[in-house]
Amino acid sequence: MPQITMKGVSKNFGDVTVIPQFDASIDDGEFLVLLGPSGCGKSTLLRMIAGLTGITSGTLGFDGEDVNEWTPSRRGVAFVFQSYALYPHMTVRENIAFPLLMDAFRKWHHIPLVSSVMRWKLMRRPDIVERTNQIAEQLELTPLMNRRPASLSGGQRQRVALARSLVRDPSLYLLDEPLSNLDAKLRTQMRSEISTLHQRVRKTFVYVTHDQVEAMTMATKIIVMNRGEIQQIGTPDEIYEHPANTFVARFVGAPPMNLLPVRQQGQQLTLEAGATFTHPGQLPADKELILGLRPERLRLQPAEQPGIPVEVSVVEKLGAEVILGCRVLHPGGGQSGDLLRQDLVFVRISGNPHVAIGTRASLGYDAAGVNWYSPQTGKALHPAAAPLLSCSA
């Protein structure tokens, strides 16, 4: 299993720079997720690792060896495409066995007629038959072996694509948004199947997605990308709990992290709307700050208690939890700003507390759950120490 290193890797398409400079490494057996919005260059990066797209500059290394000029087949990778890319005229069996056939194919097999005879013979070679059957059994494809992709469901096609990538026992699996064409239920099921597969084969997986739920549930390490640049590298917990900047804070999490621009005066924080409240912990030195709070870190309290004064504007009942969208109130009691221009402050509450729209309340939080960002750079700021205090009564 190779350790993959990318040193100063960049990619230009004509005058357009898709990836300016990329430096990262992927360890053996890791499940790395490249996460980012559409057009951020994550699929291009994956294709460069596979050898399907050339590298403009920089070095891609497998175990320290420069593989920039290696062909995709020499790199020994498996690639699962977003569209599955199954061979439509071949049966499931032929699709799965295809990489094995190509491994056994020799140049002289191209001679007319010999080619057809050799393919026929190779499809019946015991080791190829056994390996194909074994993989099909693992992915519960045995009853579908003689069917063609056109007659399979999305989930079945996805499993065939996975089986085809598994059959050669590659050292590196590259998956390009493989679940994006599936419905929500099937996506959840396939997510756990891919995680199980990773645990079973213990190989390196590089998985591209724009879906942060997929990233959080499957990854051992996430690289968040935007406009071809790395925003943060970390474990799912690090990415979620301590986003490196406001982009990561807003991109990871649904609903996203609440980012409230505040001005500090001692322990007092004043929101743009004018409301003032006391922060229950240490603060960074800057006067102008962005207060970052995950929705589940906020508590809905009676309006009389100290905290951020809000009015509930949206109630989304999700069964096991409720998402409240709140608008910050002016000191006089009115809502702040324009209805559309002003971001909602989201609060996640377990169960169903039956909160009505229009309810006025105060939002409390613990200092430990706060992230601070610079309004100028968007980067995270760190207070000297953050004691576990609460701003609620």
Binding site: P72, H110, A150, R164
Partner: protein
């Protein structure tokens, strides 16, 4: 207006709407016929009626001098055909010409399409130049080729003699006439094949080709395993079209050789003209036409059979 009248008004509207929607439904029901009738009439008058007339004529003794006085003779014309050794020669020439036109024309067109499917500077210009043969009218093309093939002043013989070889009788020797005509046919047909195959090649999903590359396939295997199966239906259709066109091609052959020398380029259609307008035998010439029709229909039937089989396979 009383309250009762006000209540009645909404009732009157649906009654009116119902009438309108019934009329509209009837109109909608007739609309497909309005679209189908003109082409159906066209086919009836210009295709099926002459076809029926031709089949009928093939069963009669009819002279060109008096086409309205025919005597029904059953299958006598077909018996004459089968008893005539010239018919088998004509049939053989037609088959050789058509099959070779398909093999060489489609192969050249496909290779050109594969070359043009790769990006290179000036690709659009080359594509335009290659289409020239298809765009030139048949008569103009035949006249140009007559000059090219000219034994004394033609460019081909100028090249041949320039290479120190003897002049070739391109259109006047029995050995060279059919290959020469095939050359012109390929020149005319291959740009069309190229254009259609280029469209088919451009619809091959890039990701499937890339999947084959990742799976270890070399270029030839990518072509055989991904590209060829994808373009095969188009290839079959184009082959069918070229075959049918070749069976009924008249102008190029007639203008270049007139079926000669010694009948060496006399295909069914050229022979049909000769029997009808030189031998004045409309009945026998119609029998030639029916044989040509049967040949074209059997090629189409084979194509339909392949198509049906493929669809059945892919839905399994």
């Amino acid at each position: 207006m009383t309250e009762q009248t006000l209540l009645e008004r909404p009732l009157a509207v649906p009654a009116y709407s119902a009438r309108t929607s019934t009329a509209r439904r009837r109109l909608n029901g007739l609309l497909p016929y309005a679209f189908v009738i003109p082409p159906a009439l066209y086919l009836l008058v210009f295709m099926f009626w002459p076809l029926g007339k031709q089949i009928y004529l093939s069963l009669t003794r009819t002279r060109l001098a008096n086409p309205n006085r025919s005597t029904f003779i059953g299958l006598r014309n077909y018996e004459r055909l089968l008893d005539n050794p010239d018919f088998y020669t004509t049939l053989k020439i037609t088959l050789i010409y058509s099959v070779m036109a398909v093999i060489v024309g489609v192969a050249v067109g496909l290779v050109a399409a594969l070359a043009l499917n790769r990006p290179f500077p000036g690709r659009t210009l080359v594509r335009g130049i290659l289409l020239f043969g298809w765009a030139v009218p048949n008569v103009a093309a035949a006249l140009v080729w007559l000059w090219i093939f000219n034994e004394r002043s033609g460019i081909l013989n100028t090249i041949v003699t320039g290479l120190g070889l003897e002049r070739v009788s391109w259109l006047t020797s029995t050995e060279m006439a059919l290959p020469s005509i095939l050359l012109v046919t390929v020149w005319q047909v291959s740009p069309f094949v190229m254009l259609v195959m280029l469209a088919a090649l451009q619809s091959v999903p890039e990701e499937v080709k890339e999947a084959a590359v990742v799976d270890g396939a070399d270029k030839l295997n990518v072509f055989k395993s991904v590209t060829l199966p994808h373009i095969l239906p188009t290839l079959q259709l184009v082959s069918l079209l070229v075959m049918v066109w070749s069976i009924r091609r008249f102008d190029i052959i007639y203008l270049l050789t007139g079926g000669g020398p010694v009948g060496s380029t006399s295909t069914l259609i050229v022979k049909l003209r000769q029997v009808a307008f030189e031998n004045h035998d409309l009945g026998l010439s119609s029998a030639y036409g029916v044989v040509g029709l049967m040949l074209a229909l059997s090629v189409a039937a084979i194509h339909a059979l392949f198509n049906h089989r493929r669809q059945k396979m892919s839905s399994r």
